[in-house]
């Protein structure tokens, strides 16, 4: 039996009458990369602090490496942590910063030298070992911080928005490096971010958090392609929401009627009955613009273009449908722009398999 | 005399420049000559504050004003350096200075005081000794004080005080070189009449012997009483007037009048005072036998006029040392005027080693 590196059982946190975190379960397996993703105020930081021991949970248990650490002091939890603002000791050199966790563990000098050397080598900073952190760039400082978090092989490395303070280019580069590091060293990482792209590109699994609970937990693809709630659909990737009423529920599909009179097909969903108000979601990149009268898709809507926006690698066209709501469509950048000039009529089509159906009022 | 005219920035042009800066730029709206706001016609007497000022006011200045119509303003904190500053800058704040001891005579040498007008002031026929610039007006006695409950058998003379076998106990002495060297010689067995000129080496040798028994060398007069009452010392060298007021307040404390050192408090007139004549009149008044009697009864001082002692009430007289007692020593100011600076330095070195 493999033990989870981290296991949360019904962990909750209340401040006075405010529930910052509803009872939550979460397991992180060895060598797994799990991301807590959510907007600010969603409870991800509270959860992280409870795991780290900087906050006491109001209820539930925290297990690290199979050991109940709910009452364990922070320092004995065997965790590593990377902070958004690096939290490097300004009075210590890079080498001494990385050596810090080893020194407090009374590791021998020779071993410290070897391990710190290795860790700095891993993040390609061996040549800067004698510098003070202030003399380093932001990216370099964060690499030192990562080296410091892995040098003593903690059971679990927590990363709290580690790339938040870096520019986009550097952020992408470090995302890549952290991912590689994770794969090469097999460390277990619990990563916190509010950036859905970062979460999707790096994680084995994502725990999407909203209003103090985990809204959905799964692999990035799963969350993207099968969001369980409108919030999940909205938070990960771009999405179009269309209000509708269920007109017919069959064994295979749900037929919905828009207020403009059009009908759309969606996969069948348990608990949804005829007459329910629902929200249909379709991602912009799943919508095709259909020329002429071709009807190659099972869902088709006519719309009027509001104009295109150029994104370099793609083109986004916003359009207004009969009920007045807006829908955006993502097309390749070789699209003939004139066809989408404001006021031009458009026909939008997509597969019913790409249509997601949520009860109205769920999520935001 | 040339020394007194020097200032820290002696060249006149420089000084005018600074004056211009100081008064013009820095503080034009605030500057008031220190003198200007004091009562226009009153003599300004600088003297100590607290209970002492009350005594002076009651015994001397108030009756003086009643009798002559000359007002006297008492200000506190006599300080020779301030007197020097006032005299050298010509910015006089005070007219009369109440001072004592060697430093006062030193200041007279520096030219800070007017010569006494002997046509107004009778400088002869005194218990103490007037100098050209300083007139005695108050004589007080320094001697041993003790707690009669704690010390039933105290040393009553300085010779006894120095006899550690017969009178063991912690001693409090002053950090003043004058008085202390006299005590040392008396303690070492010198006859009071042979005291002056002081045998300085013998005095320091005697002090060296008694050093281990001195629990505190006291710089501030109040500690001569408070250290005795808080049981830090057993025998305190202090002053009869001080003990008398402490006793009046119910403290268990006695003063030995068997052997005392009489010290003189002087009045001098600051050099260049515009009220020189009135100041001389005031000094003359302060030394008058009837005024001395009042002062004596208020302060337990020995009158400076020989006859006045007999006018004092018997209760007070009992607490006063007898200046005619052969054991009593009158501190010789002339000696200290010449030797104060050098001996004080030697004394400080003695204290430090």
């Amino acid at each position: 039996m493999t033990t989870n590196k981290l296991s949360l059982q019904q962990v909750s946190k209340a401040y006075g009458y405010v529930d910052a975190l509803h009872p939550t379960d979460l397991n992180v397996a060895e060598s797994e990369f799990v991301t807590l993703l959510g907007p600010s105020g969603s409870g991800k930081t509270t959860l992280l602090k409870i795991i780290a021991g900087m906050e006491r949970p109001s209820g539930g248990r925290v297990f690290i490496n199979g050991r109940d650490t709910t009452e364990t002091p922070v320092r004995e939890r065997d965790l590593g942590m990377v902070f958004q603002n690096y939290a490097l000791m300004p009075h210590l050199s890079v080498f001494d910063n990385v050596a810090f966790p080893l020194k407090v563990r009374k590791t021998g000098a020779e071993e410290i030298r070897r391990k710190v050397g290795e860790a700095l080598g891993t993040v390609q900073l061996a040549h800067l070992a004698d510098r003070k952190p202030q003399a380093l760039s932001g990216g370099q400082q964060q690499r030192v911080s990562i080296a410091r978090a892995i040098v003593y092989n903690p059971s679990l490395v927590l990363m709290d928005e580690p790339l938040g303070a870096l520019d986009k280019k550097l952020r992408e580069q470090l995302q890549h490096e952290i991912k590689q590091l994770h794969e090469r060293l097999g460390i277990t990482i619990l990563y916190v971010t509010h950036d859905q792209q970062e979460a999707m590109s790096m994680s084995d699994r994502i725990a999407l958090m909203n209003e103090g609970r985990i809204e959905q937990l799964g692999a990035p693809r799963e969350l993207y392609f099968s969001p369980k709630t409108a919030f999940a659909a909205d938070f990960l990737g771009n999405s179009n929401f269309i209000e509708a009423t269920v007109s017919e529920v069959s064994a295979a599909a749900t037929r919905c009627r828009l207020s403009g009179g059009e009908e759309l097909l969606a996969p069948r969903r348990d608990g949804v009955r005829q007459g329910d108000a629902v929200r249909l979601m379709v991602r912009p990149e799943h919508i095709r613009l259909i020329g002429g009268d071709g009807a190659a898709e099972d869902n088709v809507l006519t719309a009027s273009s509001l104009g295109p926006t150029f994104f370099g690698d793609a083109l986004e066209i916003r359009a207004q449908i009969a009920d007045g709501s807006e829908v955006s469509v993502k097309v390749a950048n070789n699209f003939e722009v004139a066809a989408a000039a404001p006021g031009q009529p458009l026909r939008l089509g997509w597969s019913s398999d790409h249509t997601h159906l949520f009860a109205s009022g769920s999520g935001r | 005399m040339s020394k007194t005219n020097t200032t820290l920035l002696p060249t006149p042009s420089r000084r005018r420049f600074l004056e211009g800066l100081g008064t013009g730029i820095l503080a034009a709206p605030f500057v008031l000559s220190a003198r200007r706001t004091l009562a226009a016609d009153a003599l300004v007497l600088v003297t100590w504050g607290g209970a002492y000022a009350d005594v002076i006011r009651k015994a001397i200045t108030t009756p003086f004003t009643e009798e002559t119509g000359i007002g006297v303003t008492l200000v506190s904190g006599p300080d020779l350096s301030k007197a020097k500053a006032q005299v050298t800058t010509g910015n006089l704040e005070w007219d009369l200075y109440d001072g004592s001891g060697g430093s006062m005579h030193n200041a007279a040498k520096e030219g800070l005081f007017e010569e006494l007008d002997t046509s107004v002031i009778d400088t002869s026929n005194l218990v103490g000794e007037a100098t050209a610039h300083a007139m005695p007006f108050l004589i007080y006695a320094g001697g041993m004080a003790y707690d009669p409950e704690r010390t039933p058998n105290p040393p009553r003379t300085f010779k006894q005080l120095f006899d550690g076998d017969a009178y063991p106990g912690r001693i409090g002495l002053r950090t003043r070189v004058s008085e202390t060297l006299e005590i040392a010689l008396l303690g070492d067995g010198v006859d009071p009449k042979d005291l002056y000129p002081l045998d300085v080496d013998r005095a320091f040798a005697a002090l060296e012997r008694i050093k281990p028994r001195v629990a505190k060398w006291i710089a501030q007069t109040p500690q001569t009483i408070s250290l005795l009452t808080s049981n830090e010392i057993d025998y305190s060298y202090t002053y009869n007037g001080r003990v008398a007021s402490a006793k009046a307040d119910g403290l268990n404390i006695e003063f030995s009048t068997d052997q005392t050192i009489l010290m003189t408090q002087y009045y001098s007139v600051l050099k260049g005072s515009p009220k020189r004549a009135q100041a001389m009149e005031y000094i003359s008044y302060a030394a008058r036998p009837d005024v001395q009697k009042r002062l004596s009864e208020a302060y337990y001082s020995v009158p400076v006029r020989p006859g006045a002692l007999d006018m004092v009430t018997p209760e007070v007289k009992a607490l006063l040392p007898d200046p005619k007692d052969p054991r009593t020593v009158l501190l010789k100011e002339a000696f200290w005027a010449d030797n104060f600076i050098t001996l004080d330095r030697r004394f400080k070195e003695f204290l430090l080693t």
């Binding site: 590593g80 966790p101 | 020394k3 020779l80 430093s103 830090e232 070195e349 204290l351």
Partner: protein, 290 residues
């Protein structure tokens, strides 16, 4: 100050703009030059020229046993007082730094309470507490059942106690300031990495607060070196300091040349200590950057 004038007068304004931030520093600079530096220069001058000009006071200082003793006393009392103040101040500052701002405001008032009680009265209070027949010694005797008396006053210890009592607040402020400016994340990071409270203190908190410690130590020792009332009231015969001599030469001997010379030497010592500290710090920093 000068602000209303500036708004109206365009020329002054452009001139000030050219001066830039210098215009903010200018008034104080002028003030300090006129009311601090110039007077200090006056002291230096008086130490050489008081009527006639000669170095006799300095020669006297260099050769006089009295001055050597006072110098040694000043240095050692200043050093020990600074040390004691910083150690006590650190405990207090640390405690203050770990509480809410509102609570801290209240505690700071407590720390500054000694300022409101005159040293003259306090010296008596210290006698009541620390004296031979004082509260502590009486308690000790009652507890141990002996006649034990610890001399805590009218000796070097008394001077240090009295001065530290006055100087601890001076040490508290810079230390507190450097403790408050520390990033809490650093301590969290250290704790997660497995550091015990003791390690966190000595390896993170304390080193980061060193600038405050140094500033507080320097301030309290230099201020301590310049005081003379406390040694006179609470010290023993050997605790005469240079400041006592300055006081004596100014006010009793009226020898302002000697007083000024001692004062100049006192300032030079303070300067020497400050530059030594600055040099040490610079060396430490540059050594780290290399």
């Amino acid at each position: 100050m000068t602000t209303p004038m500036l708004r109206r007068d365009g020329r002054t304004r452009t001139m000030l703009n050219r001066l830039g931030f210098g215009s903010f520093v200018l008034p104080l600079t002028l003030f300090m030059l006129l009311v601090f530096c110039l007077p200090l220069i006056g002291v230096v001058r008086t130490s050489i020229c008081d009527g006639d000009c000669s170095l006799v006071a300095y020669v006297d200082f260099a050769t006089g046993k009295l001055f050597h003793r006072a110098l040694i006393n000043t240095l050692s009392i200043g050093f020990v007082t600074g040390l004691v103040s910083v150690i006590c101040g650190y405990f207090v500052a640390y405690h203050l730094s770990r509480m809410t701002a509102r609570r801290r405001r209240f505690f700071l008032v407590l720390v500054m309470l000694p300022f409101w009680t005159s040293i003259l009265v306090k010296s008596f209070a210290f006698t009541v507490i620390l004296g031979t027949d004082g509260i502590i010694n009486n308690a000790l005797q009652a507890v141990t059942g002996t006649d034990i008396v610890i001399p805590m006053i009218f000796n070097r210890a008394g001077v240090i106690i009295g001065m530290a009592h006055w100087l601890i607040p001076f040490a508290v402020f810079p230390i507190l300031s450097s403790l408050l400016s520390q990033d809490k994340a650093l301590r969290d990071a250290a704790e997660i990495m497995g550091a015990r409270p003791w390690d966190i203190f000595w390896k993170v908190t304390f080193p980061l607060s060193l600038p405050g410690v140094i500033a507080g130590g320097l301030m309290s020792s230099v201020i301590g070196m310049g005081s003379f009332v406390t040694p006179a009231l609470l010290g023993g015969r050997r605790d005469m300091m240079m400041a006592n001599l300055v006081d004596f030469y100014v006010r009793e001997a009226l020898d302002w040349r000697m007083a000024s010379a001692i004062a100049v030497i006192l300032v030079l010592i303070a300067l020497l200590i400050l530059s030594l500290a600055a040099w040490l710090r610079q060396r430490q920093e540059s050594g780290a950057a290399a």
